[in-house]
């Protein structure tokens, strides 16, 4: 077991250093390239994925009744037909309870070595994970590879690095020697044991099951807890592959594989609430809707609860140094995965007085037209459009688009991508609203829906953007501005609102992107979620230290 730690030690040390320097770093190449992952990797993954379709997923867990599986590919409209062991609360908890004591007693190095080996194998299997992510979330293949594979592994590794730091922060033993004047000192020999919370429950989402699931999974596991992974019924496969890999490594290393279990349920018979409320579950990691987040926050007691919910991510445009580059960048952010990212912009606050550019002031209408044109241009080539948009994961999103259309003047119409059938697609909808129409834009409109909000001026735009971020939640904010004093005010305002701000982006870097080891994802400082990927608070409470002290004698 120390062998795995030694094998991955350089990666661990580099990861710890990266979390401290916050510069760019990743050990997992993001390019889906045969040169990197092996020339046969892509074809083998496609074959492996095809082999899973329509069958019983090979996992060494008991099924509580008939195996279940409801996944449908948004690309093909076909059921995947994969059936998984059906999860039932008491057997899952009992198995985790049986497994966890030996794990809690293992050394930090043992747990970290196993976690790093799991990540290394997940990285090796990135092509298969990409297929699984693509046909459950509806992302394009390249995005499914990057966000579902290497970038998710980065986030998992970041959690391992923080957990390693927290669990080794204090010495395991110390001598305490208190002077007593002329008398002999009092001498105590002390040691501290790591006491995990118990069971960590990871509740997966339907759009980024691995990227959002890995931080909690690895943070709980490395700090000594057993983990139950409860995927969204529509996005099971990426997490099933993950759990299978984790169980294999655990078994190879002599641990009970039930330290990581998959808990599959159905939309008709969900078990998430019962699992989350079980007394043996000490930690809950949730990514998903504010409605279910609210339920968890209202109903869980005496547990650690980490949530990543949603916000109304604002954009403020006071001016820009290059209108075309700005519109191109923003258009891509709106179109990427059809706005189904918790980081995608929604509310674009634009001054009615126009936007400062090197070529003079551009009016509100002109900016709206330029942005719409940039989206059209981005999506003009069908293959490129498909790669950017991916598909619509949930049919409910199409209904939401229809509803949003009626809110105001449609600046850019949403439509299916021509020729994309049977894939479920929708291009970005842009709707113009007046600043006063806050009820319309002050909640999340998940999907390819954005509002161009006509504000009195730039100050009004900033005030509304920061206030709604603070009160309604925001996971990102974006700013384009030419007035440096305005930039400074905006930085203050968004920081106070807990909304991470991107300023003046152009070229191939987007507000939607949050890089592991550098960008903290979700601040916890507004209603968009209470947890950050990955800060010390995300890790520190998952275990406690219990002291044992003894009078030193002889």
């Amino acid at each position: 077991m120390a062998e795995l730690f030694a094998r991955h030690r350089a990666t661990l040390e580099a990861a710890v250093a990266a979390t401290r320097s916050r510069g760019y770093w990743s050990p997992y190449p993001e390019l889906p390239s045969g040169k990197i992952y092996g020339e046969s990797a892509k074809a083998e993954a496609e074959a492996a994925f095809a082999g899973l379709l329509g069958g019983l997923f090979p996992l060494d867990q008991e099924s509580a009744g008939e195996p279940v599986g409801e996944e449908v590919s948004p690309w093909t409209g076909q059921k995947l037909g994969i059936r998984y062991p059906r999860g039932a609360v008491e057997p899952l908890v009992a198995a985790a309870e049986r497994a966890r004591l030996a794990w809690a007693k293992a050394s930090v190095e043992t747990r970290v070595g196993i976690a790093l080996e799991i990540l290394a194998r997940l990285n090796r299997d990135s092509f298969l994970i990409a297929n699984a992510v693509q046909h459950t979330t509806g992302q394009s293949f390249v995005m499914a590879f990057q966000a579902g594979g290497p970038h998710a592994q980065d986030r998992g590794l970041e959690a391992v690095a923080l957990a390693f730091e927290e669990t080794t922060r204090f010495p395991a033993r110390a001598r305490w020697e208190k002077p007593q004047g002329k008398a002999a000192p009092i001498v105590l020999d002390k040691e501290w044991r790591l006491v995990p919370r118990g069971i960590g429950l990871v509740i997966g989402c339907s759009t980024f099951p691995t990227w959002n699931g890995y931080p909690g999974l690895f943070a709980s596991l490395v700090t000594g807890n057993a983990v139950i992974v409860k995927p969204h019924p529509m996005a099971v496969l990426p997490l099933a592959l993950t759990v299978r890999t984790a169980r294999r490594v655990l078994r190879e290393e002599g641990f009970d594989p039930d330290l990581v279990q998959l808990a599959v349920d159905t939309a008709a018979a969900p078990i998430t609430k019962e699992l989350a409320q079980h007394p043996a579950v000490g930690i809950v990691d949730f990514t998903g809707s504010p409605a279910f987040g609210r339920w968890l926050r209202d109903n869980l007691r005496d547990k650690l609860l980490f949530t990543e919910e949603a916000g109304t991510n604002p954009v403020v445009i006071q001016g820009c140094r290059d209108l075309e580059a700005t519109c191109a960048n923003l258009a891509f952010s709106l179109a990427l995965y059809s706005g189904q990212m918790c980081t995608a912009p929604q509310n674009l606050f634009v001054p009615a007085t126009g936007i400062a550019t090197p070529g003079g002031t551009i009016g509100f209408e002109a900016f709206a037209s330029a942005l719409a044109a940039a989206i059209d241009g981005l999506l003009a080539d069908p293959a490129r459009a498909s790669a950017v948009l991916g598909t619509i994961q949930n049919p409910a999103t199409l209904e939401r688009i229809a509803k949003a259309r009626s809110l105001g003047r449609v600046v850019r119409e949403s439509a299916p991508l021509p020729g994309a059938e049977p894939a479920r697609t929708a291009t970005p909808l842009l709707v113009e609203l007046e600043a006063e129409e806050e009820p319309a834009y002050c909640s999340e409109w998940f999907g390819p829906i954005a509002f161009l909000i006509r504000c009195r001026d730039a100050e009004d735009a900033l005030e509304r953007a920061a206030r709604t971020a603070r009160t309604r939640g925001a996971i990102t904010a974006a700013l384009w501005a030419t007035d440096e004093a305005f930039v400074a005010r905006a930085a203050d305002a968004f920081a106070q609102a807990g909304a991470p701000l991107s300023i003046g982006l152009e070229g191939p870097i987007y507000v939607n992107q949050a890089a592991a080891f550098s960008d903290f994802h979700v601040t916890g400082a507004n209603p968009a979620g209470n947890a950050t990927f990955v800060d010390p608070a995300f890790v520190a409470g998952r275990f406690r230290l219990c002291g044992i002290r003894r009078l030193a004698t002889g």
Copy 2:
């Protein structure tokens, strides 16, 4: 402001080092000695204390209506007669809200420097604090000095050290440079702002108002929050003196003193629940009864809640190397401050088969007699007895003693300390119970009440002790044993129960004592509380980081 940081920098660095080495360390001398604190310090403090009695406490806060004060000295039975500004929720919150933005924007060094200056002045005023603690909590003078003065300051400093580490853990700025193959790299300049939670509420207790109050106060303050200190109506003065000192330093350094406010209420018109539920309060630090802790845990939403409640601290005695030394040590632990410590033992699990000693096995009855005799011996000298016992803080404790008497055979009777009147005193009550009588001993009996529990054998004693610690809570556990295999099993069992264990104590070191920088106080791993003094989890969530990133150009 950087001047204060520079002045106290050596103390800070030593404190940080101490939290990492976990050996003995303290910058605040615990001896109430004129040689250390100044030959006139004691007399001046007595005069200052006398000058406060019967008057309006000098504090620059508005009173919402008539000033209030209900404190009564358990030593004299007399009202202190000190009146404090009456606290009202909305004005307190509004003042904190006005004050906090400038504080959040100040540098870490500024906040830490101010916190260390506050602690230095509190240390200088230890004699006055000792008088205040003595005549509110009813502790003896020496204990009031040590626990209420230097040891409390140690805990505050420990919180400052951890908060300093957490707030400086990551760089304030970084350049992120992502290679793009043959193309130019993407370069972002990033910075991170500290975003405090808002207002931290510290709910003080009646027995250790400073020791239990300082960690939360200083952790919230140094991480950029405003703090409202809500003392127990019967123990206001120690925290009023603390708040006064904090406000003075803040004002001298150009900050709004309302960053630290005192919120005094009355038993008849409490404001704690309303304060704790106010949306602007983001953090609540509570020390007190499990009943109120439960209310907070059940009713607070979307806030950080840190609790130190209570447990049924167990002792297991399998054997000892010196019966007299063991009984003397345990007797002192039971008698110290009349058992009114959250760390005092309550349930003594003793094998019916007797205890192994070098002189042979000692039967249950003989051990009970030896322990009772040790208590009698400890309290034989009235002056020494008074210094050990102090007084009974709350009359309800006397009723509890009366009730406990009827639970089983009284091994040692509790009685007032002869000649102590008008002080309210009670010596330790020892009651014998059968192991099966769990309903009798499985809740906290606060005060000088302990149970000698007749167990089948040592294994039975350990099983019951660890199980009740895990299920009912324990802040400490103690063990005397001669069988090393038994010691190892006990260490495992108590660690799993989250009960810090002291083994084989003899001489002037007691299970009740938790040393800052070394002993983590309360694990959070059983129902005795959810927070630890002072671990990273106690500090990390009190602020968040919000990123600002900008495309590097030119």
